[in-house]
């Protein structure tokens, strides 16, 4: 049951990829996807408190459920303009 994970800016550079497929368990949440990533790339850990996220290109809280095939994006602090 994979989800597509999108990573940007500093997160992308730590992982070395902007898009990756990760398996999830049944009844997973965005937060579970994040914890899985963090376990594989501990350098992501400092970003935890300053993350926002999106599911299928919509803003979503970390507690949101994720399903098979969802696109889960992790967004470090934004700096547009």
């Amino acid at each position: 049951m994979p989800v597509t994970v999108l990573l940007f800016a500093g997160l992308r550079e730590i992982v070395g990829a902007g898009e990756l497929s990760r398996p999830i368990e049944a009844a997973a949440t965005v937060d579970a996807v994040w914890r899985d990533l963090r376990d594989h790339w501990p350098a992501l850990t400092p970003y935890g408190p300053s993350l926002t996220c999106a599911v299928n290109a919509q803003y979503a809280p970390m507690s949101s459920p994720v399903q098979d095939g969802d696109e889960v994006a992790f967004l470090p602090p934004v700096s547009g303009g």
Partner: protein, 168 residues
């Protein structure tokens, strides 16, 4: 006519966005039988050659494009709650920009200037809070991602803060 909201790797065309925004307000005004465009505020953000004392050589912008465009739509809807009859267009550039190039252009159009200024200022404050765009500064001695804001788009306080910066 240019799209109302865009993330683009092409250089931004201020005159084209002005024309589009005026046309959209003209259509809105005919549709609603209200006064047409009288004031346009164009906000143009440009790459500054120096930031906090360090010389900037270039900036690279990256976006989560579908959510960034959705954020512009959201910001326009939020603006409409307080200012009913304005038109907002936003184009943000991505890729590598030289010093002096526009990174973002916002066109806010209304019948009267007070409303246009308010919508313009609200939009840029809100973009800086919630739009998923990131900039990487290339300085003389290295490059780094600028880490700006972490804002829950649904939280009321940042929304109120953005309005608090608009003109009376």
């Amino acid at each position: 006519m240019a799209p109302r909201f865009a993330i683009t790797a092409e250089p931004l065309d201020v005159a084209a966005l002005l024309a589009t925004a005026q046309q959209l307000h003209d259509l809105l005004a005919r549709d609603r039988n209200i006064e047409g465009p009288g004031a346009v505020i164009l906000f143009v953000g440009v790459v500054r050659g120096r930031h906090q004392g360090q010389e900037v050589r270039a900036l690279t912008y990256e976006a989560y494009t579908p959510l960034a465009v959705a954020s512009f739509e959201r910001i326009a809807a939020e603006a409409g709650v307080r200012v009913a009859d304005a038109v907002l267009c936003i184009h943000h550039r991505i890729g590598t920009l030289e010093v002096g190039e526009p990174s973002v252009v916002i066109a806010a159009v209304a019948a009267h200037r007070g409303e246009a200024y308010a919508v313009s200022r609200f939009a840029i404050e809100r973009i800086k809070q919630i739009t998923p765009v990131w900039k990487r500064e290339v300085l003389v001695d290295g490059a780094s991602w600028v880490e700006g804001a972490t804002v829950d788009p649904d939280a009321p306080e940042p929304l109120a803060d953005a309005w608090s910066r608009t003109c009376p």
